[in-house]
Every structure is written in structure tokens, then in C-alpha cells.
């Protein structure tokens, strides 16, 4: 039986853009001041809704990159070329603008902050893992986390500096890094990070999540201890 705990989604509330920055090219991180905010668990996400003058609305889900203790909620948005919501957020939104949000959502892909976890992220899939890293740093429990992340190049890895500082193994599939040639994540990369009692959090594209989770299963990791968040090809 898969576990997890319930988390309230609540209704729609207003969020004001307090600031924004661009962790990597073609992205924006929105720093939001959320009215009547409920603290999230690291790994959860929000739904964000935009409304046009004629009442037309569009909503999409975005991962939270910030720790619960952060007074603002930071949502990472990858700008997709034909993304109706992401192009607005990346190109038009500016500090002072208001959007509607709903969350936090999802009790499954969420770290309790108290038990050992193996974090495995691919590309922009590292974002919910960054919330876990930041939470561990805020609570002084970095010892609980082991981290492996993969991206095409380091420049395409959001929050790369923070991940490296947290001790993450960083693998680049399209460029060499140090003595390591360009390569995908392997079982040998993950083996030294495996410890008794861990829950694995795997997040990335469908292909990455499938491959990484199967590597863990082949190493002997219990499937019931692996939690996965996949980004569908049409996520926006």
C-alpha cells in the first residue's frame, strides 16, 4: 500500500508578485506574497490561475522551490514556447502584479523533514527537491539528505549552486564535468548515496523518472519507498 498524508488545498487566494528572478535561461522564479497562506511541505506544488478581461481563465501547476519558513512562496516556471501561462509569467508579469493561486497541493511527493531521503532530480525536476534542500538547511538537518541531479548542461540546471553547495552529485549528459565525461546517471552513481531507511524522491521528465526509478529498483530499493513526480511532455 502506498502511504502519504492528506494536505489541504483550500480555495483560490490572491498572490502578489513580490519579486522575480531567472534561475536559468527560459525560466522565471516568482516570489509570491500569498494571502491566507498555509505552510507547504517541501515537494508540494501550487496551481496558478490567470484571468483575461473577458473572464477566460488558464491554470497550471508549478513546484514550490522555497522552504516553508520562507515568508514568500517561490514558484519556478519553465518558459515553454507555446505556453499560454508560462509565457505570460516569464515575459509580462512584474512585481506588484496579482495572480490567483491554490495550494499547497499533494501529500505524496512531500518530505516530512525528519526522515532520511534520497533526492534524484532531472533538469527542472530538481525544483521540488530544492525546497527540500532549503528546508533541511533552515532546520539544520542537511545530514538527512543525499542528492543526485542530472541536466543536459550545468547552465540548464536551476539552482545549481545551491545543489552543489548541498553536496549534490551533479551529472551532465551533454558536457563533461571535471574528470567525468558527458553521461547519464547510472546505478553506480546512486549506490553510494543509498542508506537504510531512506525514502527516494524522484522528479523529472517521464523518461528521466522512469529510468531513475528503475535504477533504484534494480539496486534493490523497495518500490514502495520510491515516490515519483513526472512532468508530462505537455506540462505548461
Amino acid at each position: 500500500m502506498l502511504g502519504g498524508t492528506a494536505a489541504p488545498a483550500g480555495g483560490w487566494t490572491t498572490a502578489t508578485v513580490a519579486g522575480l528572478n531567472r534561475p536559468i535561461a527560459r525560466s522565471v522564479a516568482l516570489r509570491l506574497d500569498v494571502v491566507d497562506r498555509v505552510d507547504h511541505l517541501p515537494g508540494q506544488h501550487y496551481v496558478l490561475r490567470l484571468t483575461a478581461p473577458d473572464g477566460y481563465t488558464a491554470q497550471r501547476s508549478y513546484s514550490v522551490a522555497s522552504a516553508p519558513a520562507d515568508p514568500l512562496v517561490e514558484l519556478f516556471v519553465e518558459r515553454l514556447e507555446d505556453g499560454e501561462v508560462s509565457t505570460y509569467l516569464a515575459d509580462v508579469a512584474e512585481p506588484g502584479d496579482s495572480v490567483e493561486v491554490r495550494g499547497p497541493i499533494g501529500g505524496w511527493f512531500a518530505w516530512d523533514g525528519e526522515s532520511p531521503a534520497l533526492l534524484v532530480g532531472g533538469g527542472t525536476g530538481v525544483v521540488p527537491l530544492v525546497a527540500m534542500v532549503r528546508h533541511a538547511r533552515a532546520t539544520g538537518r542537511e545530514d538527512l539528505l543525499r542528492i543526485a541531479v542530472s541536466a543536459r548542461t550545468l547552465a540548464e540546471l536551476p539552482y545549481a549552486d545551491e545543489l552543489v553547495a548541498a553536496g549534490a552529485l551533479v551529472v551532465a549528459t551533454r558536457e563533461g564535468r571535471g574528470i567525468r565525461p558527458a553521461a547519464r546517471l547510472t546505478a553506480m552513481d546512486l549506490l553510494p548515496l543509498w542508506e537504510e531507511g531512506q525514502t527516494a524522491f524522484v522528479c523529472g521528465s517521464t523518461g528521466f523518472a522512469e529510468t531513475a526509478s528503475q535504477l533504484l529498483v534494480e539496486l534493490g530499493f523497495a518500490p514502495s519507498a520510491i515516490r515519483i513526480e513526472r512532468f508530462g511532455p505537455s506540462g505548461d
Partner: protein, 203 residues
């Protein structure tokens, strides 16, 4: 009406496709994979589906036995809570009614917990799984259902959000009282009607 977002116009509006429930968009030819757990590898040699609980005749069908039931097709649309909808899908398998005809739920049996090989669960009122509204399917567009989409056999309940259509389903437990399944415990709605936007608990 929600407050207007400064500077947001949205995509140029074609007349909205009447097949699209509120808050959904047409995903086109894609079929996103969203799974919370590792993909189990299931051989059709060992696969089976069991109907048990509040039924007169608890029954297990293996791969050959389920194929011996009268076949049934679903042609139509599917809707995922993550806001994509996919039009004109074609699934083949067997109507759940064919299983109910054999197992015969008792009067007391009002809910069903579907359980997958992976441990995934989802709960539904039995009315949502009877009367030609639900299937066990093993083909998509004339091809065997792929592992990542729940093969060899998944539940198909297309009038509800797609998390109700459990992948890799192996058991249907008929219950007297409702119990929450995996996503239902994790903040999602108990019924999940896309036309009423029943996405999260409280909707």
C-alpha cells in the same frame, strides 16, 4: 468571475470545444504519463484480476479467462486532473458489467476500492463502475496497452478524472462503506467529476 490578471489575454479563443470540461485544455496527440510510483513489470502469464468483498461469487480471472468474456470498446474522451484532456481515444477490453454479472455485488456493496500491482488504490461509488460506464482495457488504438500507460490491463472510467482509471489494476474490492484511495488521501477529491471540476478535497 475571478479578478482579471493585468496584461493577460490568453490564447486567441476559438469557440470552445463543447467536449472540453471547464479548466481543461486539449492535449492533442500527446498522452502524458503521470505516475506516482515505479512502473511494475507484469507478465500476462501471471496477471489476474480479482473481484471480491461484498459479492456473491468472489472470482479471479486470468489473462485467458478475461479475454473469453464478451469484448467491449470505449471510443471517446479522457480527462486528467492536471488539466489535459484527450479527445477521440479508442480503448478495447471488457466492460466491468461482464465481471459484475459473474461476481454479483450484494445489496450491501456500495463502493469499490481498486488496487494495482504497484500498491496504488482508488475508491469509487459502485454506480460509477456499472451500467456501461467502466471497463478493464488492454488495447489502446488497436495496440497492446503499454506498461507506462498501465499495461497489460488498466481500469478505464472515462467520465471521471483519470486518476480513477487505475493503472496495472489487479483487484476490485466491493465495500459497504467508502474508504479513501491513494490520491483521495493525498488531497484529491473523492469522486472526481471533471464537469463539476471536482479536483481537490472540498471542491
Amino acid at each position: 468571475m475571478p479578478p482579471t490578471t493585468r496584461g493577460f489575454l490568453g490564447r486567441s479563443r476559438q469557440p470552445r470545444d463543447p467536449r472540453l470540461p471547464p479548466g481543461q485544455y486539449d492535449v492533442g496527440a500527446d498522452w502524458p504519463v503521470l505516475t506516482a510510483e515505479p512502473t511494475p513489470r507484469i507478465s500476462t502469464d501471471t496477471w489476474s484480476i480479482t473481484v471480491a468483498g461484498n459479492v456473491e461469487h468472489p472470482t479471479t480471472w486470468d489473462w485467458d479467462a478475461v479475454h473469453a468474456l464478451p469484448g467491449s470498446e470505449y471510443r471517446g474522451d479522457i480527462h486528467c486532473v492536471t488539466t489535459w484532456s484527450k479527445f477521440d481515444t479508442r480503448f478495447a477490453g471488457v466492460s466491468l458489467d461482464a465481471l459484475w454479472d459473474v461476481a454479483r455485488p450484494t445489496e450491501a456493496g456500495r463502493f469499490v476500492m481498486a488496487t494495482s500491482k504497484s500498491g496504488y488504490t482508488t475508491d469509487l461509488p459502485i454506480e460509477d463502475l456499472t451500467g456501461g460506464k467502466a471497463w478493464l482495457v488492454w488495447e489502446f488504438d488497436g495496440q497492446p496497452l503499454s506498461l507506462e500507460h498501465g499495461g497489460p490491463v488498466r481500469l478505464l472510467v472515462p467520465h471521471l478524472y483519470f486518476w480513477k482509471s487505475a493503472k496495472w489494476v489487479t483487484k476490485l474490492d466491493v465495500l459497504q462503506r467508502d474508504q479513501q484511495g491513494f490520491w483521495e488521501r493525498n488531497g484529491y477529491h473523492d469522486r472526481g467529476d471533471p464537469w463539476r471540476q471536482q479536483r481537490y478535497q472540498g471542491d
